[in-house]
C-alpha cells in the first residue's frame, strides 16, 4: 500500500466518526445551568398535569370547600349542635335554622358541621393507617419471595375474620382504658380509627402485591438490580413510585369505606356517644323519618357522597398526573 492510500483511509475514518459531530457543531455554553431555561421539578410537572384534569380540579375546589365548611363553619355559626330546643323541633328551612332542625329541635347546620369534622377526620386517618399497613405488606410480600407466602396467608386470615365480632371485642377490651387516658371522645376516636384501619388494609395489600410482582420482571428493575441497587432503595426509588396509582385508587375508596363503617359502628352503639354527631349517625338517625323529612337524610347523604366523590376524582387526577406515560399528553 502506498502512503497516499494510507492517508486517504485515515481521512475516511475520521470523516466517518466525526460526521455526526458536525451536526451539533455548537459547543456547550459556558454556563450549562441556564441551558434549558428554568429547571422543572417533578412535582411541578405533576401539578401542571393535574391542573389540566378538569374533574379533579372541580373536585379539589369542592373538597377544600367541604373542609372549610367543617373547619371554619362552627366559628361562624355558633349554635351548639347538641342544644335541644323543643319549641323549634321539626322546623323547616328558616332564618333561625337555615337547614332546619331535627326531631328534638337541634340545629341541622350546626350538626352537619360538627359531624363533618368527625367523619372527615375518621375517614382520612383510618385511610392513612389502612394504606400504610396495606402498601407495607403488599410491597414486602411482592418483593421478597420468602415473605410472600406467610404475609399473604396473614392477609387471608384477616379477610376471613368476621369484622363485627372483632370490633365488638376491641371495643369491650379497649374502650375504657382509652377513654380514661385520652378522654371519652378522643379515646373513641383513636379506637375507631385504629379498628377501621386495622381491618381494611387487606384489599390494598393484595392489589399492591400483584402490581409489584408484575413490575419485578420489568427491564428497568433488572437493570437497577444488575448495577447492585440495594433493596431499600430499589423499593423506594423504583417500585413505590410505579405502584402509586393503585395505592391512590385504594386510598380514595378507603375513605368512603371508613366513613360508612364509622356510621355503622355508631349505629350499633360501638362508636361515638349518641350526643356526638357524625354524618353517618345523622343519616342513620333520620332514616325512620325519611318519608316525612327527606332533607334530614339528603343533606348528610349528599355531604358523604360529595366528599367521597371528590376524593375519588382527586385520586384519579393524581394518578394520571403521576404517570409519566400519560403526563404531557
Amino acid at each position: 500500500m502506498t502512503e497516499r492510500q494510507e492517508q486517504l483511509n485515515t481521512q475516511e475514518l475520521i470523516d466517518e466518526t466525526a460526521a455526526p459531530a458536525a451536526v451539533i457543531s455548537d459547543l456547550p455554553p459556558d454556563n450549562p445551568q441556564v441551558a434549558g431555561g428554568e429547571t422543572r421539578s417533578q412535582w411541578r410537572d405533576v401539578w401542571r398535569q393535574f391542573r389540566s384534569h378538569r374533574g379533579a380540579m372541580v373536585a379539589l375546589v369542592l373538597f377544600i370547600g367541604v373542609i372549610l365548611f367543617v373547619a371554619i363553619g362552627p366559628y361562624l355559626w355558633t349554635i351548639d349542635p347538641t342544644y335541644v330546643d323543643i319549641r323549634a323541633r321539626n322546623s323547616g328551612f328558616t332564618a333561625a335554622h337555615p337547614l332546619g332542625t331535627d326531631q328534638l329541635g337541634r340545629d341541622m347546620l350546626a350538626r352537619l358541621m360538627a359531624g363533618g369534622r368527625v367523619s372527615i377526620a375518621v375517614g382520612l386517618t383510618a385511610m392513612i393507617i389502612a394504606i400504610f399497613i396495606g402498601s407495607l405488606i403488599g410491597v414486602t410480600s411482592g418483593y421478597f419471595r420468602r415473605l410472600d407466602a406467610p404475609l399473604m396467608r396473614l392477609t387471608e386470615l384477616f379477610l376471613a375474620l368476621p369484622l363485627l365480632p372483632l370490633l365488638l371485642l376491641m371495643v369491650t377490651l379497649f374502650r375504657e382504658p382509652l377513654s380514661q387516658n385520652l378522654g371519652p371522645a378522643m379515646g373513641v376516636f383513636v379506637l375507631i380509627v385504629s379498628a377501621i384501619g386495622a381491618t381494611s388494609w387487606m384489599q390494598a395489600a393484595r392489589i399492591v402485591r400483584g402490581d409489584v410482582l408484575g413490575l419485578k420482571e420489568r427491564e428497568f428493575i433488572l437493570a437497577a438490580k444488575s448495577i447492585g441497587t440495594p433493596s431499600r432503595r430499589m423499593i423506594l426509588r423504583h417500585i413505590l413510585p410505579n405502584v402509586l396509582s393503585p395505592i391512590m385508587v385504594a386510598a380514595t375508596l378507603g375513605i368512603a369505606t371508613a366513613i360508612i363503617t364509622e356510621s355503622a359502628l355508631s349505629f350499633l352503639g360501638l362508636g361515638f356517644p349518641p350526643d356526638f354527631p357524625t354524618w353517618g349517625r345523622l343519616l342513620y338517625d333520620a332514616v325512620d323519618q325519611m318519608a316525612l323529612y327527606p332533607s334530614r337524610v339528603i343533606l348528610p347523604g349528599l355531604l358523604i357522597s360529595m366528599t367521597v366523590l371528590c376524593v375519588n376524582y382527586i385520586g384519579d387526577g393524581l394518578r394520571d398526573a403521576m404517570d409519566p406515560r400519560i403526563r404531557g399528553r
Binding site: 347538641t82 342544644y83 335541644v84 323543643i86 323541633r89 321539626n90 326531631q103 328534638l104 337541634r106 365488638l168 369491650t172 375504657e176 377513654s179 380514661q180 371519652p184 349505629f267 350499633l268 352503639g269 360501638l270 356517644p273 349518641p274 350526643d275 338517625d285 332514616v287 325512620d288 323519618q289 318519608a291 316525612l292
Partner: protein, 563 residues
C-alpha cells in the same frame, strides 16, 4: 297433612255460615326478633315465649284487668273453693277433664307435676326458677287434681303455672330431658307437644316457625286459622310497613317507633296500632355505689364505695324534678306511653298515687341543690367539697332512647349537672355476662335507663329485687337484680312482712310504702314512662284483645278474619 288441611278448608268454604276451625286460611305474624327456641323454661324473651304460647299453655293466664283466667285449670284456686289452703301452705289445682295433647294422648296432673320437677331440677338452670320459689313438693291427687306444697306459707300463693312463661310440658315428650340434659334436647325444645290451638310443623331457629291448627284443641270451632306463620327478622320500622302499608302480614309485634312516624302509616287505613298497658315502666336507675374507672376492680360499683354524690338525697330529688316526663311521653311515645311517677303502675291498688313528679320544676331543683351546698362553678357545673356533679348515663341502642337521653341531658345541664352519654348494644346490656363490663347488673355508670316489668299482678316478687341480698357483686357473678345497690334495713323488714301477710289491703299498704321508698321519697329509681306494648294488626284481623300482662299472642285461639 297438607292435603287434609286443604280438604278441611274446602269443606268449610262450602258452608261459610258456620265459623269453625281452619276456615280463615293462613295467619301471618311478624316478630322482628326471631324465635330461637320454643321452650319458655330455657328463654324468657318475648320473641321465644310468644310463639311458644300458641302451642303450650299454662294452667291459668292473667287477664287484661289483672284477674286470673283459667286455661287448663277448671277454676282458679281460692280460699273459698278450698284451692288455697287456709294456712297458705299449699295450692290445689283442679284441671279441666278430658283434655288431650296434640298427639291425642290424655293430659293429666302427672304432666303438671313433671313440669315442676323439670324446672326445679338444680342441674337444669331453669330460666323462670323464681316462679317456682317456695314449692317443696308436688302431689298428684288424681288425674285431674294436683297440689303444690310450699315449704312455708307463701304469699301470694298463685305464681307457678300462671302466665305464658310457665306452661305445662308433656311428660312423655320431655321425660328424657331432666336436669343437665334439658338444654340439649333440641327436638323437644324446638317442637314441644302442647294443648294449645296450634301445632308446630316446622321451625327454623332465628327465622320462621310454622304451625297448623291442633286437631285435638278443646274448642272444636277454634282456632279459626288453618295455618299460622311466625316470621322473624327485620326491624320495627320494616315490620310496621309490612302490616300498615303493604299488608303482607296480619300482625306485627313491639312497634317502639316515634308517634310522628307511625301516624301517617296508620292513616292509610290498612291496619291499626294497639297498645296494651301492663306493668312495663321505663325508668332511670341511680347507682348508689361509685362506678369510677379509677377504682380497682373489686371495689368499683361495690358497697365498699358509696357514690360520691348520688348518695345525697337532694341530688337525686333534683335530678328527678328536672325531668319533664310528660314531654318525653308526648315526643317519644305518643299513644303508647304515659308519664308516670311509680314503678308499680298496675294493678292500681298498689300504686302509691304520688304524682308530684309529673310537673317539671327546674327552678325548684336548682334551689334544692343550692340549699344542699352544691354551688355552680364558672363552667356552670355544680361542685361541693371538690366533687363535681358529672355523671355517665348509659342505655341501650334504640332511636327512641337516644332521644330521651338527649332530652334528659339537656334538662340536667340546666340544673348544673354535666352528663356524658353512652349507648350499649341490647344483647350486651341485658345479657348478664359476668365478664362484660357493660351489663345492667354491673352498672359501671352513674345512671342507666331501661324498661322493666313483672308478670303476675302481685308486685311482691318484683319488689323483692331491691333487698340487700340481691345486690350484684363479684361473689355472685354479678347476677343479683338490685342493680342500684339499694340497701335499707327498713325496706328488707317490710319485704319480710309482705311475705307473711295474706290480707290484700294490708299487702297493698306495705307494697305502696316500699314503692314510695324507692321512687317518690327516695328517688333511687326515677320512673319515666308507663309503657304499653304496641302491636300493629291488619284491619281484617278480629278478636285481638290487648293484654299488658301476657304475651301479645295470648288469645290467638280467638282470632279470626273478618271480610
Amino acid at each position: 297433612m297438607k292435603r287434609s288441611v286443604i280438604s278441611v278448608l274446602a269443606l268449610f268454604a262450602a258452608s261459610p255460615a258456620i265459623a269453625g276451625r281452619g276456615t280463615d286460611g293462613e295467619l301471618r305474624i311478624l316478630y322482628w326478633q326471631a324465635a330461637t327456641v320454643l321452650n319458655p323454661y330455657l328463654s324468657t324473651g318475648a320473641k321465644d315465649t310468644d310463639p311458644a304460647s300458641m302451642v303450650i299453655e299454662p294452667l291459668a293466664v292473667v287477664a287484661p284487668d289483672g284477674s286470673f283466667q283459667p286455661r287448663l285449670a277448671a277454676e282458679i284456686p281460692t280460699l273459698e273453693n278450698g284451692g288455697i289452703a287456709a294456712d297458705y301452705s299449699s295450692v290445689t289445682w283442679r284441671l279441666k277433664p278430658d283434655l288431650k295433647w296434640s298427639d291425642g294422648t290424655p293430659f293429666t296432673a302427672e304432666d303438671v307435676a313433671f313440669t315442676a320437677q323439670y324446672c326445679m331440677d338444680p342441674e337444669f338452670g331453669c330460666a323462670v326458677l323464681q316462679e317456682f320459689e317456695g314449692i317443696a313438693s308436688v302431689d298428684v291427687l288424681d288425674p285431674t287434681t294436683v297440689r303444690l306444697n310450699f315449704s312455708e306459707p307463701k304469699y301470694p300463693p298463685l305464681q307457678a303455672f300462671i302466665g305464658g312463661r310457665t306452661p305445662v310440658l308433656q311428660k312423655a315428650q320431655f321425660a328424657s330431658c331432666l336436669g343437665a340434659a334439658g338444654a340439649s334436647c333440641t327436638e323437644q325444645n324446638f317442637g314441644p307437644i302442647g294443648t294449645g290451638p296450634f301445632v308446630v310443623t316446622a321451625f327454623q331457629p332465628g327465622d320462621v316457625v310454622q304451625f297448623t291448627a291442633n286437631p285435638h284443641y278443646r274448642d272444636p270451632n277454634k282456632p279459626a286459622f288453618a295455618t299460622a306463620t311466625v316470621k322473624g327478622g327485620g326491624d320495627a320500622m320494616a315490620a310496621a310497613r309490612t302490616v300498615l302499608e303493604t299488608g303482607e302480614f296480619d300482625f306485627a309485634w313491639n312497634m317502639q317507633l316515634a308517634p310522628e312516624i307511625v301516624a301517617p302509616m296508620e292513616a292509610q287505613g290498612k291496619g291499626v296500632l294497639v297498645a296494651s298497658f301492663g306493668p312495663m315502666v321505663e325508668r332511670i336507675e341511680l347507682n348508689q355505689t361509685d362506678p369510677s374507672p379509677t377504682l380497682p376492680e373489686g371495689q368499683r360499683s361495690t358497697m365498699a364505695r358509696p357514690h360520691p354524690f348520688l348518695a345525697d338525697p337532694a341530688v337525686r330529688k333534683a335530678l328527678s324534678m328536672a325531668i319533664d316526663r310528660q314531654l318525653i311521653a308526648e315526643l317519644a311515645y305518643g299513644p303508647s306511653g304515659m308519664a308516670t311517677c311509680t314503678i308499680v303502675p298496675m294493678p292500681t291498688a298498689y300504686d302509691p298515687g304520688n304524682n308530684d313528679c309529673l310537673q317539671q320544676d327546674i327552678a325548684g331543683a336548682n334551689a334544692l341543690l343550692d340549699d344542699a351546698g352544691w354551688t355552680k362553678g364558672a363552667d356552670g357545673i355544680r361542685t361541693k367539697d371538690g366533687v363535681e356533679l358529672r355523671l355517665l348515663f348509659q342505655t341501650t341502642v334504640n332511636a327512641v332512647r337516644q332521644d330521651e337521653q338527649s332530652l334528659v341531658k339537656q334538662w340536667w345541664s340546666e340544673i348544673g349537672v354535666a352528663t356524658d352519654l353512652k349507648t350499649i348494644d341490647n344483647a350486651a346490656f341485658f345479657g348478664g355476662d359476668a365478664g362484660s363490663p357493660d351489663t345492667r347488673q354491673k352498672f359501671y355508670a352513674d345512671a342507666q335507663m331501661f324498661t322493666d316489668a313483672f308478670y303476675i299482678p302481685d308486685p311482691a316478687s318484683f319488689l323483692n329485687k331491691f333487698v340487700c341480698d340481691r345486690i350484684p357483686t363479684a361473689e355472685n357473678q354479678w347476677q343479683g337484680q338490685n342493680s342500684i345497690r339499694f340497701c335499707d334495713p327498713a325496706y328488707d323488714e317490710n319485704m319480710a312482712l309482705l311475705h307473711q301477710t295474706a290480707e290484700a289491703s294490708k299487702r297493698q299498704e306495705i307494697a305502696k310504702e316500699m314503692t314510695a321508698t324507692l321512687t317518690a321519697d327516695g328517688n333511687f329509681v326515677l320512673p319515666l314512662i308507663h309503657r304499653g306494648m304496641v302491636s300493629a294488626h291488619a284491619n281484617s284481623l278480629t278478636g285481638i284483645l290487648a293484654n299488658g300482662w301476657e304475651g301479645q299472642l295470648w288469645n290467638v285461639a280467638d282470632w279470626s278474619r273478618a271480610e
